[in-house]
Symmetry: C2
Subunit: 238 residues, 2 copies
DNA sequence: GTCTATAGTTGGATAGAC
DNA sequence: GTCTATCCAACTATAGAC
């Protein structure tokens, strides 16, 4: 049984090792997502990741090349579908509007909804995904900064134009500033800081809120902010 | 003036080493603040910190006990004066109002201004401080989570009460949610993400904006959001 | 494609001289 | 109070067997 013949024969116990490569990669990505999210990039050893994935350090190097490349792959796997969904929604809105300005709330929904949708669709993974989202904004590796530009750059650009049309009385610089406020809100919420916000006394816990509830209020809140005239710049009231 | 008596003996070259302990501690804190801010806690070795501070690893252990304790001290040094300033401003507003509700914009100013004020007052250090602020919300060490509760808990509680009086038609849970949106905006701005936000094309750079400009617009933006009726909960319009 | 073994660094922490 | 020297654990990455 131990492979007397040449090539084709005898996968007896070798078959154990020759697992599906794609499955190994996915197990690595899942483990990396969870651990990088919990302890950060520098706080997580490659060993811990491979151990959690039930494989070896060298397997990770074979598939991804380096620890940093594994991080990049981990982030990309989640952000790409979200970016795609955002742009698709925006394009559909623009198609339907046929030149007319798109209502602010619709634009914000197109930008924000895909994150929640994706989280909800992935169940448990949604919980771990949000940590990765937070890391994207604070983890040190220089690669991440480039990745952030690559991921957000085109999307922000497209939404900026749409917002400028929805808010014709505001200067583009003022809108760009508000857009960063929006990103701040989004990151904070997506990172899961709502759940562990300090409560007690007169501060009620926010742990039980549904995604729909949070998303809905976020849109109301941000839309009101965006509509508020900017008294300092070339805004409406000037 | 150099007190020759008592402590009489030979400080010949030993005097070199016997530097002012408080100054050493401050140099360590400065270096830790800069490096932890740039590369994160796990991404920064204690050796790198002590080298930048011009001292030794064992000096750091002597003064702070551990790398983690050094991080805690670094954060505390900056957050304590800010928390104090926030509460002082709030108390003064409440004293002056003498029972009447305090205008929303005043409350937001009391909450947000101290950060900018502190940054401006410290010059270069203000630039590095903001990184520490960002770390506070994402760095992995478990100590940081406790520290966050300790630092923000009482302040959030006090401001929650004041906001509830300024917005009598809103439910406290809804205000608590909005307050987290506010924190998200604050963290994002304080962390310095405005400067390296993606620009180009139709997105103007935000790098040149003054603190006053950003703070002013932040208050307008957030105040409008807080005043926006919450259609889903026990808000005004219901 | 996956493993074991190991190379070569670098990490936090401590002991003991001064 | 500050240093030098050192311990030992843990890390990334690679080489080579299977």
């Amino acid at each position: 049984m131990t492979s007397p013949e040449t090539a084709p024969a005898a996968l007896s116990n070798v078959a154990e090792r020759r697992r599906d490569p794609e499955e190994t990669q996915e197990r690595l990505l899942d483990a990396a997502e969870r651990l990088f999210g919990e302890r950060g990039f520098d706080g997580t050893s490659l060993r811990a990741v491979t151990q959690a994935a039930g494989t070896s350090v060298s397997a990770a190097h074979y598939h991804f090349g380096s620890k940093e490349a594994l991080l990049v792959a981990t982030i990309r796997r989640r952000t790409e579908p979200i970016t795609r969904a955002r742009l698709e929604r925006l394009e559909r809105l623009e198609r339907e509007a046929a030149g007319a300005p798109i209502p602010l709330e619709r634009l914000l929904d197109a930008f924000l909804c895909p994150i929640f949708e994706y989280r909800a669709a992935r169940g448990d993974h949604g919980e771990t995904f949000r940590r990765i989202a937070a890391r994207l904004f604070s983890d040190p590796p220089a690669v991440v900064a480039d990745l952030k530009r690559e991921i957000f750059g085109p999307t922000v650009e497209r939404f900026m134009s749409a917002l400028a049309r929805a808010l014709p009385e505001r200067s583009s610089r003022s809108i760009a500033l508000d857009l960063q406020f929006l990103v701040g809100v989004m990151v904070h919420v997506t990172s899961g800081h709502l759940e562990d916000a300090p409560d007690g006394g007169s501060v009620p816990s926010l742990a039980g809120l549904s995604d729909e509830r949070v998303l809905g209020r976020m849109i109301e809140f941000v839309a009101a902010g965006l509509r508020a005239p900017d008294r300092q710049s070339g805004g409406a009231l000037r």
